[in-house]
């Protein structure tokens, strides 16, 4: 095993896939010679050259549309959008083009492209640099959406995303960029899209934690454990398609469900998970399910306010205690 940081796992995934398949190329703002705002593409430009590691102007609509056009014509583009918030600038080519062209063109083409972006809060980046928009993309048929929360999953999910025949949105966690984790040192480490990971086993309550909420949920689980409550913590990893079987199996065992995400609650991933469990197995809920999310306001800049805003291990702990007490 090797120890890699979260962002290094991304670099490794890109490098391995670009070596494996010459159709794969990378473009985005500052991905080239500079090596990226988080050093996430360092060395790729030097290894693969300017044709395949391409700095773009600040024109998300334009270069994501170009990625779609190149995917339609036999390439496998990977585009970086530095901050997840900026994906709103290219919703058009993603939603109206990438997601639908295979369908609209009668299956003549596929659109094998990956868009990755850094999202989430906790860095006092303010309302336009802290958002988590997975639900927006997961609402669109034709797109796949993944959120890795460990270096191993960054490597495995990015590699799977690059090999997928469909447009995949890979939402990376800004706050986890420096996180170190165990990664297989050799070989082709692939994590299948659409499969959740049980990060911790338990029998009393199911906590589904998305992205950088995973370490927070795991900490809350340890706090609960000292009270004698064993939480099962599930990282869905893939939002669309969603591995509802893994979540359902867990909820049928525990009877209690708490979902933690940084995105807003209304019409969100948590709502969808609860709806699916309710539709399939309403009686598996021994108590009403619960979402722990930020309040319905933009993400504030002031550290003191952002602390109030984001779910914490304490707020997850308290929420789950409430579920247990019912």
């Amino acid at each position: 095993m090797a120890r890699l940081k979260y962002y290094q796992a991304l670099t490794r995934a890109l490098r391995e896939e670009m070596v494996r398949d010459e159709r794969v190329f990378l473009m985005g703002e500052d991905v080239g010679e500079s090596g990226g705002i988080f050093a996430q593409t360092r060395g790729l430009y030097q290894q693969f050259g300017s044709a395949r590691v391409r700095d773009t102007p600040i024109a998300e609509n334009g270069f994501v549309s170009a990625a779609v056009g190149s995917a339609m014509t036999g390439m496998r583009p990977v585009v970086e959008i530095g901050f997840e918030d900026f994906v709103t600038c290219c919703m058009e080519p993603l939603v109206n083009q990438a997601a639908k062209l295979g369908y609209m063109l009668g299956g003549q083409i596929s659109v094998p492209m990956v868009l990755y972006a850094f999202g989430g809060g906790g860095l006092n980046a303010g309302p336009q640099h802290s958002q988590s928009l997975a639900a927006w993309f997961a609402h669109v048929p034709g797109l796949k959406v993944v959120i890795p929360s460990t270096p191993a999953d960054v490597l495995g999910l990015m590699k799977s995303a690059i090999r997928d025949e469909n447009p995949v949105i890979c939402l990376l966690c800004k706050k986890l960029i420096g996180l170190t984790g165990e990664v297989e040192s050799e070989g082709d480490h692939l994590v299948p899209i659409g499969r959740a990971r049980v990060a911790r086993s338990g029998s009393d309550v199911t906590i589904v934690a998305v992205g950088q909420m995973l370490p927070i949920a795991l900490k809350a689980a340890r706090m609960l454990s000292t009270d004698g409550v064993e939480a099962e913590v599930i990282d869905p990893r893939s939002i669309s398609p969603l591995d509802e079987d893994t979540i359902l199996t867990s909820v049928e065992k525990t009877g209690r469900l708490c979902i933690v995400h940084e995105a807003h609650g209304p019409f969100g991933v948590g709502s969808e998970i609860i709806a699916r469990i309710a539709e399939k197995s309403l009686t598996s809920f021994r108590v009403p399910p619960l979402r722990v999310t930020p309040p319905f306001a933009p993400s504030p800049f002031a550290p003191s306010l952002e602390e109030l805003y984001l779910p914490t291990s304490a707020s997850v702990y308290e929420a789950v205690c409430g579920l247990i007490a019912i």
Partner: protein
Amino acid sequence: MPIRNRDTALSLFKTMCEIRAFEQVASARYKNGDLPGFIHLSLGQEACAAGACATLRGDDYITSNHRGHGHCLAKGANPKLMLAELFAKARGYGKGRSGSMHIADVSAGVLGANGIVGQSMGLGVGAALSIQIRRQPGVVIAFFGEGASGTGIAHEAMNMASIWRLPIIFFCEANKYAELSPFSTHVSIDNVADRACAYGFPGVTVDGEDVFAVYEVTNHAVALARSGGGPTLIEAKTVRWHGHYEGDPQTYKSEQERLNPKYFDPIAHLRDRVSEIEGLATEHLAEVEKAALEKIRAAELWAQALQNPDPEVLMEDVYAEESRHG
């Protein structure tokens, strides 16, 4: 190379007549209630599609817009399969799922009409990127209208194409109206082509009634792009005989213009100049015109008799399992 010769004239005339016949059939059948949805016709604009696409090879690409029937036909799409799509039949290019605005024949280099104004330019940049990265000899023509020239992606696409010196021709059909408003509502200057200097590549305005003139300027631009000289912006001044969509009451046009749009007629324009071309006689053109009408009529009869899509088609191709490339 002299292009104002008999063979070129006949070939261009044939394409224009087929487009004319196709659009007239579509107009009649739409009026009759036989075609669902919306259609946008290019009657009056035949010389643009015919002249521009005649300069391309089979493996070159075009991207198009909502008024794309002419472009698709001129680049080699099959009128039978196009009409099948207009009739919403299973054999249509989009399996009856996409309609007029998304007709594509990727094997013929037609990457598709498109319902989102401006995206033809971004997608075209992507196709040109594929060509450049693979060091292929191909070129791309991205068709758009003066309305699209005001979109953000028009600027983004032309800027990127210039920075990367891509083999692409931005072909603007300025047909006097964008949607329901005149050119002056959409464009701040007299000629869209004048904007090319801001991107550092050539811009040419051409008479869109003269198919030879369109052919010549496009041919020059294609040769430039093919030899690594980068993009050209061509603006053909043309006239849209019908409304923005079929059924548009066109209250924004003068009565004169609405009732007598044929003052501008690329087919008549060529016919009137038959004596200028050695070896060409009016009878030759009449034969070509008759054959075009027969071909489109046969396609119409074939298409209308086809089956509607099976219910399974609804869920096919939402996601691709296998690679499909143009």
